[in-house]
Amino acid sequence: MSIDKQESVKKLFTAQSAKVETNKGDAYYNELYDRCRARLDELKKLKPLNNRMDFMQSIEEEGLERRDFLKWASATTAMLMLPASFTPLVAEAAVMMNRLPVIWIELQDCAGNSEALLRSDGPKIDDIILDIISLEFHETLMAPSGHQAEKQLEDAVEHFKGKYLLFVEGSIPQGIDGHFGTIGAKAETFIDHTLRLAKDAAAVVAVGSCATFGGIPAAAPNPTDAVGVMDVVKGKPIINIPACPANPSNMVGVLLHYVLTGSIPELDSLLRPKFAFGYRIHDNCERRAHFDAGEYVEEWGDEGAKNNFCLYKVGCKGPMTFNNCSIIRYNEAVNWPIGVGRGCIGCSEPDFWDKYAYERPMANANIKAPTGGVEKTVDEFGLGLLTAAGIGIAIHAAASAVAGKKSEEV
């Protein structure tokens, strides 16, 4: 099943409607190709950092064939917004993933992203990649513990100075001088810990909504004065992979891009990789046809719910949430929240709790529409923001009027 998924991932990412300023011209891609080629040749000379399983061997053990792997590579190339000619390079980079040292720390978190990583929600090959990356330090996954673990962390920092990617999970509490969060026998605060480890990192990857924008801990009244990594770490490349939990496919995407090009992927103004956060949930939502047709779930368990109608009126924030979970989905692509009739909560947006909040219907959410100001009604809001979908909204407004209902949210 996961393999067929690849075909649809590729289709979606190469579809005309889904494009995010992709084509940068031949000269650009030729130069990039040469750069990637040279980098991979360099990497090939290095020994793998760990003697965990060999990549191709793992693929075989999972009962996958080379053909499956190449399918995956071409879908991933599309996802990273690279031309198809890069496919062989992407395949090569995946195999060399164990040349990249990764240090993973947990701060003010619920361990949900580690869980997501552990459960490897991504399609099979993403799992294997996460299995073979050289995780030099991760509290839950590594073998040593206690003082040994602390030493392993120090050794890894020393040994891979300037080379490792630092993954951070969880927000950073600033209150009472950072003492809402401390770590290790010396009770180092989370802030100091992060700064110290970020100093020698090649780049910092903030995983999950907590590490990126503060997440739930930063919801009002933000008792611990929690913030995301980018508010604390300065002078380092930072990549944000928000969502709660972050999608493992996106973690793999970032790693792969780094192995392949030696640089971080193109980011939006919130430092999110464009390949993953260049689209709105709404753009590829399976209930979109119902939105356009003006067919909505009005209350839980109603006929609309039974027919999988659009969840906009019960608070779905898909139209203003940038993320690719409508394509990638969760738990090995089995499902995603909208698939079970629960709307999107906008967890990959900054201040998601205070601004988006699931139970608050759109009109009461504190989100500023592009037209400025907080919009009042579903229809106004829709027309302001969703020009492409304006027709659907208009139909809906008409239908509501016929039914004698107010088209305003209550």
Binding site: E139, T140, A220, P223, W300, N335
Partner: protein, 433 residues
């Protein structure tokens, strides 16, 4: 010999803990368990819409997030009922909720067994094994969380349960897909964990038949037995369970006598030098979790082990792995009985109550989880989350040491104490919130 305090950092649990061991005469005399962080989830909930708890509280913990969702939805439903609104969940909604909860417990137990317990035991006994424990854990948990996600949309952090039911409306095909994933887990349990059929395993009801268990579980039992560890790690022999479920009825058990409980007698208190609150029932400490469930519901095999080893780490470890079999068996029934044509949700969304007070309990992987919500003028004015680990891991009070502390006291080494500590399936993110 002089007193000596050694501080040790414990990872490979969910989050981290620091343990300060006090040694006297070469034995551990006391242990202080510290959790190094705080988020303030209860404070964040104040002033919010009661239904916000359905999305916020699962974020307390990446491992038992689903239990938080169910506790939160039950707290609201209980509040509605107290205010005179009848809830009337359909059997379908009940079964789906129980099934997804069972999946969460299953993934937790197997992950704990393979990623925490076995490797730590091997470390303690200095055994080098070729086994890839993590791979086994991942395989099983990935499979069962896929079944969970069919109904809940994602795991961790789903919010598909709502007052009056669930939002999903599965087709028969969805149910069949879940069944096939579940059967895959049964197969794993039969072939790898116990090397014996589920049916045969469930017929084992006394210590004398334990030799029938082989596989990784059999190996673990053997290692504990042959290394003189079976009687280590005893605590007070007091157990508590707050939620009625197929795993256990609510009740408390002191040594072997079982009696009723009421959440009104649960008392939380601040602990000096820790952000984690301690919790007691009528001023006494109780152990919660699979062993408590086995004792309160008088599960024959658990009782048999208890007769021989008391509340030792052997009985405690056994009870948790044993639950995997019970959960698999019950999950089969739950799925089989889902009637897809019943309604998923029976309450209108418009229904908004402005004043209510409700309590929701649930049996989570590590024991009873309690949510209490008080709503005034349509917003939460007080929210209490009492997690299982607060029962097991508090320092205790002036009169008594905490449950896990008591189990570690008397150990001769940090390694020994550390292993005992981990038999409790420690979770720091829940304890500290």
């Amino acid at each position: 010999m002089k007193r000596m305090v050694i501080r040790q950092l414990i990872e490979k649990i969910e989050g981290e803990a620091e343990l300060d061991y006090t040694f006297s005469e070469g034995r551990i005399e006391d242990v202080k368990i510290n959790f190094g962080f705080y988020r303030g989830i209860e404070e964040i909930l104040e002033g919010k819409d009661p239904k916000d708890a359905l999305v916020i509280t699962p974020r307390v913990c990446g491992i038992c997030n689903h239990a938080h969702l169910i506790a939160a939805v039950r707290a609201i439903e209980d509040g509605y009922e107290n205010a005179g609104v009848k809830i009337g969940l359909t059997q379908k909604a009940k079964n789906i909720r129980e099934f997804t909860l069972a999946c969460e417990l299953l993934q937790n137990h197997i992950k704990w067994f393979y990623m925490t317990l076995l490797p730590n035991l091997e470390k303690y006994l200095k055994i080098v094994s070729e086994e890839n424990h993590a791979m086994k854990a991942t395989y099983f948990s990935t499979t069962i969380t896929k079944a969970l996600a069919i109904f809940s949309g994602q795991w961790p952090h789903s919010s598909y349960a709502i007052p009056g039911g669930v939002t999903c409306d599965p087709t028969q095909l969805d149910v069949m897909q879940a069944q096939s994933l579940l059967e895959e887990c049964v197969r794993f349990f039969e072939q790898v964990v116990t090397a014996c059929s589920l049916e045969k395993y469930l017929a084992i009801d006394s210590v004398s038949q334990l030799h029938k268990i082989e596989g990784d579980f059999g190996r673990l039992l053997h290692l504990l037995g042959s290394n003189g560890m079976a009687e280590m790690g005893q605590s007070y022999d007091r157990f508590i369970v707050f939620s009625d479920s197929f795993l256990s009825k609510a009740g408390k058990s002191i040594v072997t006598s079982v009696s009723k409980v009421d959440t009104r007698y649960v008392h939380e208190s601040a602990q000096k030098g820790s952000v984690a609150k301690a919790v007691s029932y009528k001023n006494r400490l109780y152990e919660t979790g699979p062993l408590a469930r086995g004792m309160v519901s008088k599960e024959p095999i658990v009782k048999s082990l208890h007769k021989r080893y008391k509340d030792s780490l052997m009985t405690r470890v056994f009870a948790r792995v044993h639950e995997v079999a019970l959960l698999l068996e019950e999950s089969r029934k739950l799925l089989k009985e889902i009637r897809v044509d019943e309604p998923s949700c029976t309450l209108e969304a418009e229904l908004k109550l402005y004043e209510f007070e409700g309590t929701g309990t649930v049996e989570a992987a590590r024991g009873s989880l309690i949510h209490k919500t008080t709503v005034n003028n349509g917003v939460i004015v007080k929210y209490d989350i009492i997690t299982p680990t607060q029962w097991n891991l508090s320092h205790g009070n002036e009169k008594e040491k905490g449950i896990a502390v008591k189990a570690m006291v008397g150990s001769q080494s940090i390694e020994e104490a550390d292993f005992i500590f981990r038999t409790f399936d420690v979770c720091s993110v829940c304890t500290a919130q």
